[in-house]
Amino acid sequence: MWNKFLTTNDPAREKYGAAKNSHPEEYKNILKILRENEVDIDQSRPMMAYSPAKNRAGRFILDPQASLAALRHEFKHFLDDKAAGYPGLKFYREDDDKFWKMEFWAFAEELKFARQQKDYDLARKIVKLMRERKAEIFGR
């Protein structure tokens, strides 16, 4: 069952720690971009998620303890949503291939982080999460 970036779905967190500590400049920069784009930032619970809204920026659930990999994943969802013109969730979920493509590119951000660290064990864990998500999307 997909529970977004709870601790168990943020495999980089245990080894690399919170993005705000491991990569403070990138962390600050991402938050700055989110605020400039009037994204609603919610830090009230321990999860990472970006929920799209219609005709406006969505809501970013930010766990201050999340890793940079998880932060980049959700930030990618925001960037893609902005590039699409904030069409609302229905636009994305009408086509499973389109939906998966967006998930794929968000996971690719996490894989990029693993590659930068030359951490192939982390990459394997991310690929496992990708496969689980893909199975839930396509139902197979």
Binding site: M1, W2, N3, K4, S44, R45, M47, A49, Y50, S51, P52, A53, K54, N55, G58, R59, I61, H77, G88, L89, K90, Y92, R93, E94, D95, D96, D97, F99, A135, E136, I137, F138, G139, R140
Partner: protein, 124 residues
């Protein structure tokens, strides 16, 4: 695959099967299509299928994107139906959403442009 086309072409019993799909996107698309059909041709059995799907545990636990669950999409589908039975069902189902889940539901409905005409939601 275009899920809108797939669900539009389905007969009512097939839509029921889609609600049991392992694909959460197909389940959500089936909810949308049931909502469309109920708006033009109300049917108690279809309404029951939709409300049962909202109650289903896996739909309440599966996030589609962000904090939006399949069950939230089912509530959105119910909220779009202009029929008193659908409104009653919507209000009765509200009680299954608690705390953050309820706030996320309200946020999603507003994000989709649903104007909240339910006083119960405004005070939740």
């Amino acid at each position: 695959m275009n899920l809108v086309r797939q669900t539009k072409e389905a007969a009512n019993p097939q839509l029921g099967e889609f609600l049991n799909s392992d694909s959460f996107l197909l389940r959500a698309a089936a909810m949308d299509e049931i909502s469309n059909r109920l708006q033009t041709n109300f049917d108690d059995n279809l309404l029951k299928s939709l409300s049962d799907a909202v109650r289903e545990k896996r739909n309440r636990e599966t996030f589609v994107r962000g904090t939006i669950t399949v069950a939230h999409i089912g509530m959105f589908a119910l909220a779009r139906i202009n029929h008193f039975k659908a409104r009653e069902k919507f209000l009765s189902l509200l009680s299954i959403f608690k705390d953050a889940d309820l706030k996320d539901l309200i946020w999603y409905l507003e994000a989709e442009g649903i104007s909240i005409a339910f006083p119960e939601l405004q005070t939740a």
